[in-house]
């Protein structure tokens, strides 16, 4: 079983976590054309390489982010969501 290091709970078996998928770009719903909006809805970050994605530690219900390599499955780092907002 893979280990995932939760920023709050430390390294835990990955079956304690739930993936919520890569962080998605924010679009302004009011200024986005229909076709672009639907592409946004169904679009999925799936490039070979490192993605930033949401994870939930289920027992503690803590949501955080992880940088993970979609090919090697290596988890580069994990961090709290506040950091994402600071970067944005």
């Amino acid at each position: 079983m893979k280990l995932l290091t939760c920023p709050m709970n430390g390294p835990r078996n990955i079956d304690e976590f739930q993936s919520f998928g890569p962080v998605r770009a924010k679009l302004d719903p009011n200024s986005t054309a229909d076709a672009e909006w639907s592409r946004h809805l169904f679009r999925a970050e799936n490039r070979k390489g490192i993605v930033v994605e949401w994870w939930r530690h289920v027992p503690s219900n803590y949501f955080f982010l992880a940088e993970r390599d979609l090919v090697s499955n290596e988890i580069i780092r994990t961090f709290d969501a506040s950091e994402l907002r600071e970067r944005a």
Binding site: M1, S19, P22, L41, F42, A44, R47, E53, L70, N73
Partner: protein, 413 residues
């Protein structure tokens, strides 16, 4: 004893069939370049050559022939879907399998022993009724059976749970079956090669030359190939390959795992799958019990196996057939699936005029090998998409005309 075996036995030398010619030199140009030497690409090549007279075709395979999901899937063939568009398409697929051995002169061992999907909840029974009503309406053999019916179809199932895992009934699909996956690909490869199609193994596509709205050439590790038309049929690599051409598909890749037991004398006739347990079992003609289930819970381009999935599938199997406790597992493996948002494939046109898509096959592609190849060949030859494929267009995600097959795909593929 069949006549052909007698001939083999009495001949002095092994009767070489030469199914797969050695990889030739790449030519500078082909009418059609098919990216992906799996079942779908080879099927398309065969149909182009045999039915459309197009034999200037190169099939490019980055690894060995049919070594991706064609080799890794658990070979379920069925048409008991939910949407009328889906059922119509897969029904044609089943019909093509029924005569595929003759078509290819290669025994693909299509074994139509039926598929029994089990319901452990009223909600599942309701979805079964939906599939049965739609299936009957579309002319497939799909019906809901009650507990007694389940016992008659599969007497060895454990029916004595009580509780949340009690089997309430099932969806019986007499058209369901399996075939030997490798044989399907090899049969297509042999037939296509005999008609002049070139199969290039260890030939990896590394990029596209796009001019305006056309693909001019495909760049490979063995050189550049100019092309009239291009088909992408690369299974788990579809997103990646399409992206090289600047086309972003609504696809996410997840590993799908499966496992197999040691060979046993036959005891399981039908395919059995359980929606709630996310487990399905089928006994192959070698006697091995092939066991599979749902996809991994997060995106990944890796064919590594996990212990947890194996434990989960073992739990499900032992729940359904408790006597399997003493049966030994021999091997587990995984494939990379290209999942679409609505669990239906993406077939037809791309934003580029001469680039065609046979993508989004997720966990359900093997059964469509003959029909997808046939219909994509027709599309490429005619330069337009036939009606049966139109609902599967990439544009459906812009117009919300989704073909939601999630409920018909979760338990068995």
């Amino acid at each position: 004893m069949p006549l052909r075996l007698l001939k083999y036995g009495l001949s002095r030398d092994y009767p070489v069939s030469g199914d797969i010619p050695a990889t030739p030199e790449l030519k500078p140009v082909y009418d059609v370049v098919i990216i992906g030497g799996g079942g779908h690409g080879l099927s398309c090549a065969h149909h182009l050559a045999k039915y459309h007279g197009i034999s200037s075709v190169a099939v490019l395979e980055k690894g060995y022939l049919a070594g991706g999901n064609t080799a890794r899937n658990t070979t379920t063939i069925r048409s008991n879907y939910i949407t009328p568009e889906g059922i119509a398409f897969y029904k044609e697929g089943v019909e093509l399998f029924e005569r595929l051995s003759q078509e290819l002169d290669f025994n693909v061992m299509f074994s139509q022993r039926g598929q029994l999907t089990l319901a452990h909840s009223e909600a599942t029974m309701r979805s079964f009724h939906m599939r049965a009503e739609m299936g009957k309406h579309m002319g497939t053999r799909t019906e809901v059976v009650d507990q007694k019916g389940v016992e008659e179809l599969c007497p060895l199932l454990n029916m004595d749970y009580g509780g949340p895992l009690e089997i309430l009934g099932g969806l019986w699909h007499a058209d369901g079956g399996t075939a030997r996956h490798d044989a399907v690909a090899w049969g297509y490869a042999a037939q296509a090669s005999r008609r002049g199609v070139e199969i290039h193994q260890r030939t990896e596509v590394q990029g596209f030359e796009v001019v305006g709205d056309r693909v001019q050439a495909v760049k490979t590790n063995r050189g550049r190939v100019a092309c009239g038309q291009v088909l992408i049929a690369t299974g788990g690599m579809n997103y990646d390959v399409a992206l090289m051409a600047g086309v972003e598909l609504p696809i996410r890749c997840y590993p799908l795992q499966a496992m197999v037991t040691q060979p046993l004398k036959p005891w399981l006739d039908t395919l059995v799958s359980s929606v709630s347990l996310h487990t399905y079992l089928v006994q192959s003609s070698r006697g091995e019990v092939v066991i599979g289930g749902g996809s991994d819970p997060y995106q990944l381009y890796s064919t590594r196996s996990t212990l947890d999935m194996k434990e989960h599938l073992a739990e499900g199997s032992v729940h359904l057939f408790p006597f399997l406790q003493g049966v030994r597992l021999l091997r587990q493996w995984a494939g990379i699936t290209d999942m679409t948002p609505d669990y239906s494939p993406i077939m037809g046109a791309s934003p580029l005029a001469n680039l065609w898509l046979d993508c989004g096959w997720g966990t359900w592609g093997f059964k469509a090998t003959p029909v997808a190849g046939k219909r994509m060949a027709q599309t490429i030859a005619d330069g337009r998409v036939p009606d049966i494929l139109k609902p599967f267009a990439l544009e459906r995600f812009e117009t919300f005309r989704l073909l939601n097959e999630m409920g018909a795909t979760a338990a068995s593929h």
